[in-house]
Symmetry: D3
Subunit: 232 residues, 6 copies
């Protein structure tokens, strides 16, 4: 199956490494190579703000669109009664909390804890990042009563395994969660015909409007990067 | 991976046919054979009331437990803005509506429409069942504004493909939805260590209590049936 | 009037003492003796998880079914603006919180405080239990702003009077609350014909299904115990 | 026990007949005679808008205050999954709906149906009133799915028994419901010490403020009426 | 335009100074002089409990009625994501919290912090009041994450400017907020015909009932005071 | 004061006429001329989807940002108990309903009625548009119980006065509502220092990020149009 990962942020410094990570976690037969928009089997919004999710869904044709926050909640609600989200900065909290409520999981949110780090800080000093995440994760479990931890930024990748071993609760990675979910949706679209609805509010906008939005014009496709850079 | 399908209803008349259906939709390498409880990779509650979901989750050890209603909502919320549930009898509505609200998706529920059929009626006169389902499904879309249809009983299997072709919206089958979801959870448990939390409210009850509950004592395992009956 | 108290837990060690307590608090003419199911005037689920409440209501015929958590909320919402629940273990919290939200009183819940004691611990060292309950009760009032305390387990009986004297707020006992409420419902059933609805979702299930559920088969009737043991 | 029934409407034309009705439904030993405010065991707000409920609760000293709408919901939620309220005029709906939501029962509200009659119309042409109530009650059950009917005005008294016989669902009378509930609270106050909380938001206002509010100054006490008119 | 400010509290000690404050903040052409009820362009309930708001709206004829709490929320929700309310006493919290939820802004409420002062204390020792407000305001921002502060009593006037300078977040004054809002509504009523709805629940009550309520009988009109006292 | 009206849709065919309309409804001294971003007193998102509202608020510096849907709700909630929104197409409903719930007014929404017209249809055949709007508006009032009508598209301008005269309920225009509200906020910003919070979630993003977003780069400023076209 063919998956498109959209990086909604201009900066493409993390695309290669995220691409590698996805390759390694993919099922046999799942491809990240990209040819053209109409042929995608699934699309992932690559940002935990789930930026443009609704818009992408309207123009995605037959591809199910998945986003990190909504996808992480699918895992969290099946693995425990409550969860905490470790975000980068306090600034991120209101919008992400609003999304979590909109997705219907506000009651299960134990806390949102800021790590006091920006997007570009997580992957600089890995030891320090790990320490801060562990500290806040532990407080989330012990003080806030979280039964599951969600890493609230796609760039917080690479830490979940160590964390869950030490904390003793599942730690959901915001890259892997939407990727495995989109694989499943791509499969069920093909096998059972469960393509996105195109009725009422899910109707695609008039072609003219889509062109004006130019949503996919400047997408830096991780898949293309991977092809060019010959990741095996 | 090894999946357990629990039939919480005493009557086992549909186990064989549901087992066949799951076999056909499984990935390569997914097995429904059952050896013993501790080794399950995933468990499905086989009833759209999601009966005993919370209790099963407490005693499931390392297996993620999935249930038809909650699983169908994962599909419905990714395929459209709103959904209707086609239930058997009006009697089923309050409990199922309560579950849908509890899962946080009450706002997206367009309607619940009774087919005026009991569990044992769906598979008797297939032509008549199809007609009734199509009629109520069409009303759900046209009058109630549903963008997705959910079949609100595991025994409403076998109809979703014809329906979605005619109605033009995705129709989520309550057998296939939890099965594909549990496959994914079984995979992510193994690959990423995302096993159920056992912290706070997810802690397993004392062994003594579990024995008294005798939850799994009389399970008619579909897997065993399948093995015995040599389904290929 | 005739009241049935169902002990949903296998262990019957507390039945006698709870029976005595109910006898003493009963109105003149209220009887706990039990003859046979069809003649009950009221039924109480004897566990603060309100286990099987919905199912019991479907098969209760003309008896109103009352449960400790839901009943305690009737008292708490008439006695103050907010309440805290003193539960045994942190493990109990998610399910009980879910119930409180489902009953529509989530906004009034100030806190749930675990006493770090199991069901079988409350009645062992009464002095120690009283101390722990007082300490957490005081924190519930002073730190969490509770105006009423609910004792979140039927086995936390025997403490409410001392507590409310010292804390200066009403302390609702989870045995007495449902008992007085069911007495009222038994009376209004007889006087005004306010029997449980049997329409739509409240319709009784087919007789065959009830037999399979065997809900009342092994009930240890407190009433029978009382009769046999000649409590006066 | 001593109960005070407050008639918040200036007009006292219905006090005598409501008083008679309460006398007949009272337990032995329940008295409606009134001596002075401090000695009440319970207080009822005699209007389905639950007017001044919060204020009355603050100044009620040791008397639990009960109101028709909130009390009727206690009955409705124990007798079925959903209810409809038969109100007089469409004008009444928004405020009453707001109250029902505030009491946490908005999810269970099937519908509010106006009878197109004012307070003073219900008791004029009893045959016509009965017809209108039966017609709207039937629609509430059949079209809106109500399992219980609540009569949404204290002056809709005298109809519930005929209605519930014909409709086959319980019909909650807004006079009897709060009265039986306040009897129970008066009893549990005396027996278990469950008096209203006077902590935090339930603290009584300063005496000076109460005087200025003059809440009880011009109350037409039904109890006094009854005493004077020598109802037996 | 002509604005009426209703002081629902008996005591009129603050009317003169609030009147002055409003005069200074009024647009050119806004008058607070009062002639008679029917000619008002706008009405303000002068108490943060928003006492009698619904009733006043029913009888206000063509005047839009505004209340401090609801009006402050209009400002707070346009100036930030979350807000805290600084109330006088802990006693005030439940009713005000209930209002905030009823107005639909419960999710944005970061905290309610009591200043431990009564209505008559705020304007006695201004330096001490300022200190306490600053201390609680700072905690609201730093500990509770408030992005905006609302002063939860009309008598907390005179402090917002100093506070917002020191705290670095907007501080909404409960006198100025409803006043500027009512000016706008008075203008849009005249310009666009946006007078209060008089349909369904907004229908005015029968004249007889209004007379019995005598809502406006003893209003101490600030406007009249101002006229008499010749404020310039 | 200086107001910026952002037209988030590429097409600028309606800018001139909306600009004229705003000029006519402005207070003396309100200017729509635009010089540069930093000096705005207020900003309006010119689309009823409230597109980009959160993002615009983060980068608006000292200007309060107002949007048509949120602003219309301020009017609707002060003019009546419930409202209906007349939208163009059924497709618009889910996103707009989601916004209304997010703004906390979901409980007051009587209905959303599609006019079956697109954005570019409203101003083509004015007589036909008026007829359709009147028909749906009447149904909203009579069948859905709406006390106020909101016109759910900025291009539905020019109809509210005739409609409210015929329907007898206030009809809120989605151009005028945000414009008058932003005028008020611009005034209170200057007079009382009520500028947008820049704390926590309201903190402005790093300058670099704003440049990358290029939010205001291609804005077709109505103000500039007006200046150039010399509207008086």
């Amino acid at each position: 199956m063919k998956i498109l990962w959209i990086n909604p942020i201009g900066n493409d410094g993390f695309d290669l490494i995220i691409g590698k990570m996805l390759k390694e976690s993919a099922r046999d037969g799942t491809s990240l190579d990209v040819v053209s928009l109409p042929n995608y089997d699934g699309i992932v919004i690559g940002c935990f703000y789930d930026v443009g999710l609704r818009e992408a869904r309207e123009v995605s044709k037959r591809a199910v669109v998945v986003a990190p926050c909504q996808a992480s909640l699918v895992f969290a609600t099946h693995l425990g009664n409550s969860f905490s989200v470790l975000v980068g900065r306090r600034k991120w909290i209101p919008k992400m909390r609003e999304n979590i409520h909109m997705y219907g999981q506000g009651e299960r949110l134990a806390s949102m804890r800021p790590l006091k780090m920006g997007v570009y800080d997580f992957q600089v000093d890995l030891k320090k990042t790990a320490e801060v995440m562990m500290e806040e994760g532990r407080k989330a479990v012990d003080e806030d009563g979280a039964e599951v931890i969600i890493l609230g930024c796609t760039i917080e990748f690479g830490f979940h395994e160590t964390m869950q071993k030490e904390l003793g609760v599942p730690v959901v990675d915001a890259v892997l969660a939407p990727f495995k979910l989109v694989e499943m949706f791509a499969e069920t679209a093909g096998k059972f015909g469960w393509y996105p609805s195109r009725k009422w509010g899910s109707e695609a906008p008039p072609l003219q409007e889509v062109k004006e939005m130019a949503l996919f014009e400047n997408i830096t496709s991780i898949g293309n990067l991977l092809k060019n850079d010959a990741i095996q």
